[in-house]
C-alpha cells in the first residue's frame, strides 16, 4: 500500500539578513514514517522545521499538508494543521503539574476539568508506553520526564505530525532507547515523526528515511536501510572525512591535580558536589561523563576557584618542583599568583569565557591585561596573539577587530580554546568544548586537546557524546548527582557501562525524588 504524503515543503527559502538559512529546500514526510533530518550545525535543519511549526515564515516556497497548500503564520496555525514541535529547550512552567502544563494555552471557552484531563493524559501514555505521573510537578521531574511532558503536550492537542529537535541531546543511552521505542509505536499508529539530529548512529537506528541538509540546501533524501554512516557523512559534509580520533599512550604521567573528598552546596543548600575524589595526571586526558547538570560545571568551577567548597581539598603539584599547593578557598587571581597554570574553557563561551560584544583583541586581553604596573592597557601583545590564533587555528573572521558574537560557533570556540592554550597551561579544563560545532571544528578541537596531552598537560574534558569520550580519553570519570559513580578506562570501557553509571542511584534520597533506577 502506497503511503500518503503527510507534509511537503516545496522550494522553501529563508534568509536572515545576508545569511541564507534555507535555500530552495524540498522535503516530504509520509504518514506512519520517521524521517530524520541530518545536517551539521548551521545547516538550516531547525530553521526549516521552525517554518513548518509556524515560528518563522518562509520568504519563498510553499508548505503542503495532505496535498493542500497551507499558510502557517503562527504556532497556533500549526496546531490547527495537527503539527506539533518539541523544542530543544523545554517551555514548561516549573510550578505546574504535568497535566496543567499540557492543557495550558488550550482555549476552548470551557473550564478545565482536571480529572478528565488526567484521564486523557493517562490514556495517551498507555497507548504509547510513556511512564509519567500527570500530577507530578515539573520542578520535581528529571530531564527525560520533562521531555515526556513536552511530547504529551503535543499529542494531547491531537498532533499527527511531530517534530523533535535534537531530542536525545539531554538523554542517557538508556533513556534514548526508551524514547525511540515510543517513537516507533507512534509511527506504527500512523503518525509522522520528524527528528532533527546530527548523531549518525541514532539516525541509522531510528529513521525510515534520512533527509540531509548542507549549508541550507537539501542535498538528498535516502532510505535508511540502503545507506551507511560513511555515505551520510559524505553527503552531510560534501566530502569524505576521517572520523577517527588518534589516541596516544600517556607518557611520563605524574599526578598533577589531586582532588580529595570535595563537597559543596548550591544556593538552596542542596548538595551539588558530594565527596568527590580523583586525580588528574599530566600527559593524560581525563574525561568526565554524566547527564547534564550532574555537577560537572561546579566541579570545574571549584578547581578554577569560582565555586565555594564546604569540604575537601584540591592539591596542585607544580610541574617543575612537584611542590604541593592547596587551591581550596583561593580566588582565580590567588591561584594564578601561586604560579598555577590553569586554563579553563567554560561551557558558556560567550557568557563566561569571552565577552560577546568585544572584539577578538580585547577578548585575548582578558587573560593578560593585568600584567605590568601601567594604569593603561597595552593592546599590542593581545593584537599579536589574536592574529596568531586567527592564522594558526584558521578562524574565519574579517579581522581581529570583529566582535566575537559575530563569529560562528566553531570560530568562537577556536578563539576561546586558542587563548586558553596560549597561556601554556599545565592543567587544561574544557567543558563541552565541541557542543554546537560542526564536524571539522570538532576535530580541530580534539586535535588541540591531544596536542596538549602530548605536551604533558593534564587535560580534563567534560563531554556529552559517549562515543567521543571513549575514543579520546584515557580515563573516564562518571558523575551522577554530584557523586562519582565510577572511573573507567577509556580503552576498555563500553558505552552501556558508562550509561548505567550515569543513571546509577547513589543514595536512598534520590529514589524518593522519583528518579528512575535502571
Amino acid at each position: 500500500m502506497a503511503k500518503k504524503i503527510a507534509l511537503e515543503c516545496r522550494s522553501i527559502t529563508k534568509t536572515f539578513g545576508s545569511v541564507v538559512a534555507n535555500n530552495n529546500c524540498n522535503l516530504e514526510v509520509m504518514q506512519g514514517e520517521i524521517l530524520a533530518i541530518l545536517g551539521e550545525n548551521g545547516s538550516g535543519k531547525t530553521t526549516l522545521m521552525n517554518m513548518v511549526a509556524g515560528i518563522y515564515f518562509p520568504d519563498e516556497g510553499q508548505i503542503l499538508i495532505d496535498g493542500e497548500e497551507v499558510v502557517i503564520s503562527s504556532p497556533k496555525d500549526a496546531f490547527n494543521y495537527k503539527i506539533g514541535m518539541i523544542h530543544q529547550h523545554f517551555k514548561l512552567v516549573d510550578v505546574f503539574t504535568a497535566s496543567e502544563n499540557i492543557v495550558l494555552g488550550i482555549d476552548d471557552d470551557k473550564r478545565f476539568n482536571m480529572k478528565a484531563v488526567n484521564k486523557k493524559v493517562i490514556e495517551i501514555t498507555q497507548r504509547y508506553g510513556f511512564i509519567i505521573d500527570p500530577e507530578k510537578r515539573i520542578c520535581d521531574m528529571s530531564v527525560s520526564e520533562k521531555q515526556t511532558v513536552e511530547i504529551l503536550k503535543v499529542l494531547y492537542r491531537g498532533a499527527d505530525i511531530l517534530i523533535l529537535d535534537e531530542p536525545t541531546a539531554v538523554l542517557t543511552p538508556q533513556e534514548t532507547e526508551k524514547l525511540f521505542s515510543i517513537l516507533r509505536r507512534m509511527r506504527d499508529d500512523g503518525k509522522s515523526i520528524i527528528i532533527i539530529t546530527h548523531k549518525m548512529h541514532e539516525v541509522l537506528s531510528i529513521s525510515d528515511r534520512v533527509a540531509v541538509l548542507r549549508k541550507g540546501e537539501h542535498v538528498a533524501t535516502v532510505n535508511t536501510p540502503e545507506t551507511n554512516e560513511a555515505e551520510l557523512t559524505e553527503l552531510m559534509m560534501g566530502k569524505k572525512i576521517d572520523l577517527n580520533i588518534k589516541r596516544s599512550e600517556p607518557k611520563n604521567s605524574k599526578d598533577r591535580l589531586v582532588v580529595s573528598n570535595i563537597s559543596s552546596v548550591n544556593e538552596e543548600g542542596r548538595p551539588v558536589l558530594d565527596n568527590i575524589s580523583f586525580t588528574a595526571r599530566s600527559g593524560e586526558i581525563l574525561g568526565i561523563a554524566g547527564i547534564a547538570g550532574s555537577g560537572q560545571r561546579e566541579l570545574l568551577e571549584a578547581i578554577a576557584g569560582l565555586h565555594k567548597l564546604t569540604d575537601g581539598e584540591i592539591i596542585y603539584y607544580t610541574p617543575e618542583e612537584n611542590k604541593p599547593e592547596n587551591l581550596r578557598d583561593k580566588t582565580p587571581i590567588q591561584i594564578r599568583d601561586l604560579g598555577v597554570r590553569l586554563s579553563f574553557v567554560p561551557e558558556d563561551r560567550l557568557g563566561m569565557g569571552l565577552v560577546g560584544n568585544m572584539d577578538i583583541i580585547d577578548n585575548m586581553m582578558l587573560r593578560s591585561y593585568r600584567k605590568g604596573h601601567s594604569f593603561f592597557l597595552k593592546r599590542r601583545e593581545p593584537k599579536n596573539l589574536a592574529d596568531r590564533i586567527i592564522k594558526d587555528l584558521e578562524v574565519v573572521t574579517p579581522n581581529a577587530n570583529t566582535p566575537v558574537r559575530n563569529l560562528s560557533g566553531g570560530n568562537v570556540q577556536k578563539v576561546l580554546v586558542g587563548r586558553e592554550i596560549a597561556a601554556s597551561p599545565s592543567v587544561l579544563m574544557a567543558a563541552y568544548p565541541v557542543r554546537g560545532l560542526d564536524v571539522n571544528s570538532s576535530y580541530t578541537i580534539y586535535n588541540l586537546l591531544n596536542n596538549q596531552k602530548e605536551n604533558g598537560v593534564a587535560v580534563i574534558f567534560v563531554g556529552e557524546d559517549l562515543d567521543v569520550l571513549l575514543e579520546l580519553c584515557d580515563r573516564i570519570l562518571v558523575i551522577n548527582s554530584g557523586k562519582i559513580t565510577g572511573i573507567v578506562d577509556g580503552r576498555t570501557a563500553v558505552k552501556d557501562e558508562i550509561g548505567l553509571l550515569m543513571t546509577k542511584s547513589t543514595s536512598l534520597e534520590e529514589d524518593a525524588d522519583g528518579k528512575e533506577v535502571q
Partner: protein, 364 residues
C-alpha cells in the same frame, strides 16, 4: 511583528535584523530622521497654532544662536548637562542603573554652599576654592557609595536605591534653606563674592574648560585604562568578569566613587561656578536627562558632546518659540518631543529592516 492576521493571507511585511551597517548608512538614516522630524513637527505646528513652520524653526535657531549671550548660555548649559552625563556614564557602562545623579549633584552643590557660607570669610579665596572642590567631590562620592556598597554586598536594587537617595538630597537642601534663610523667603542670597572667577569678562568659560577637560579624561579612562576595561567586562558579563578573576564588588564600588565624584563636581560648577546659591531645583532634572544623553551617545563621551548639543539646542529653541509666538511652553515641548522621538526611533531602522513580501512566483 506586524503581520496581516487574516487566514490564508501571507504576512505582508516582516522585520529582519540587519547585519552591521556601514557608517554612511547610519548617517543617512539619522539625517532622514531629522528631516522627517522637522517635516512632521511642521505639520503639528501648523495644525496647533497656525504659524508658519519655517518661522518657528528660525525662532528655534534664534533662541540657541541669536546673540553672543545666547551662544554662551547654550555652551554653559551644554557644559552642565555634559558634566552630569559624563558622571553617569561609567556606572551605566557597567550596567549599574544609577538614576541618582540628580541627588548626587544636589548634595555636591549643598556641600559647596555650606563651605561658601561658613568658611567664605575665614579663608583666602584660592584655599576656599580647594575646600569647596574637596567638599563637593566628597559629598557626591558618599551619595553614590552608599547604594554601590549595598549593591556589591547584598545585591540590592540600585535603581530604587539611587532614586530614593535623590529625595533624601532634595529634602536635605530644603531643610538647609529653611534653617539658614532667616528672611523667610526661602531663597538663599547668591554669594557671588565667593564664586569662581570670570576669565576675561565671561563667567562661564572656566566651567566650559573644566568640562571639556573632564570629557577627554573620561574618554581616555573608559577606552584606554585597565580600570575602564574592567568596567566594560563587568557590564557585559559578570560571569566573565568572575571567570578571569576581576573582583566585581571592588569594581562596582570604585566605579560608583568615580561616578559620584563627577556628580559632585557638577554640583560644584552649578553652585560655585554658576548660581552661587542653591535651591531644590538646582540640578533641574539634568540628572535624568543625562541618562538619555549618555545612552543616545552609546556611552561614548565624545559623541555625548553631540547629543548634549542636540538636547540643549532644542531646549533653548523651544523656550524661544514660546516667547516669540506667545504660545505655552507645552507647545514647544511637543516639538522637542517629536524631534527626539524621531531621532531615537531611527535607531530601530539602523538595527532592523522592514521587508515587504515578494509577490509569489507564477509557476504553480
Amino acid at each position: 511583528m506586524a503581520t496581516v492576521q487574516k487566514k490564508q493571507k501571507t504576512p505582508l511585511i516582516h522585520i529582519v535584523k540587519r547585519p552591521q551597517v556601514a557608517w554612511y548608512h547610519s548617517i543617512i538614516v539619522r539625517a532622514v530622521a531629522i528631516v522627517a522630524a522637522l517635516a512632521f513637527s511642521g505639520i503639528v505646528i501648523t495644525l496647533l497654532i497656525g504659524e508658519n513652520p519655517l518661522e518657528v524653526y528660525s525662532s528655534i535657531f534664534d533662541g540657541a544662536f541669536g546673540t553672543s549671550r545666547r551662544i554662551w548660555n547654550l555652551l554653559q548649559s551644554m557644559a552642565m548637562l555634559l558634566c552630569i552625563s559624563l558622571a553617569v556614564t561609567p556606572a551605566f557602562k557597567m550596567r549599574f542603573w544609577n538614576i541618582g545623579a540628580e541627588g548626587q549633584v544636589l548634595i555636591g552643590g549643598l556641600a559647596t554652599v555650606i563651605v561658601m557660607m561658613f568658611l567664605g570669610d575665614k579663608l583666602p579665596l584660592p584655599l576656599l576654592f580647594l575646600v569647596m572642590t574637596a567638599a563637593s567631590i566628597l559629598a557626591g562620592i558618599v551619595w553614590a557609595f552608599i547604594p554601590a556598597f549595598f549593591k556589591a554586598m547584598w545585591n540590592t536594587n540600585e535603581t530604587l536605591f539611587t532614586l530614593m537617595m535623590n529625595y533624601v538630597a532634595i529634602q536635605l537642601v530644603a531643610y538647609f534653606l529653611k534653617v539658614f534663610v532667616k528672611d523667610g523667603s526661602g531663597a538663599l542670597r547668591p554669594m557671588s563674592e565667593y564664586g569662581f572667577p570670570a576669565i576675561g569678562d565671561n563667567q562661564f568659560i572656566l566651567n566650559i574648560i573644566i568640562v571639556a577637560a573632564l570629557t577627554i579624561a573620561v574618554y581616555i579612562y573608559l577606552k584606554f585604562s585597565k580600570q575602564g576595561y574592567e568596567i566594560s567586562v563587568v557590564g557585559e558579563s559578570e560571569n566573565t568578569a568572575k571567570y578571569i578573576g576581576i573582583n566585581v564588588k571592588k569594581v562596582i564600588i570604585r566605579t560608583l566613587i568615580i561616578s559620584g565624584a563627577l556628580c559632585g563636581i557638577a554640583g560644584l560648577l552649578l553652585v560655585g561656578g554658576t548660581n552661587h546659591t542653591i535651591n531644590v531645583e538646582t540640578a533641574g532634572g539634568r540628572g535624568f536627562t543625562a541618562i538619555m544623553v549618555s545612552w543616545l551617545a552609546k556611552f561614548n563621551p565624545l559623541y555625548m558632546v553631540l547629543t548634549t548639543f542636540l538636547i540643549v539646542f532644542l531646549e533653548k529653541g523651544a523656550s524661544q518659540v514660546s516667547t516669540d509666538f506667545r504660545v505655552p511652553e507645552d507647545i514647544s515641548n511637543i516639538i522637542t518631543g517629536i524631534i527626539l522621538l524621531f531621532i531615537i526611533g531611527c535607531e530601530f531602522f539602523l538595527q532592523y529592516k522592514v521587508v515587504f513580501r515578494k509577490t509569489r512566483k507564477e509557476n504553480d
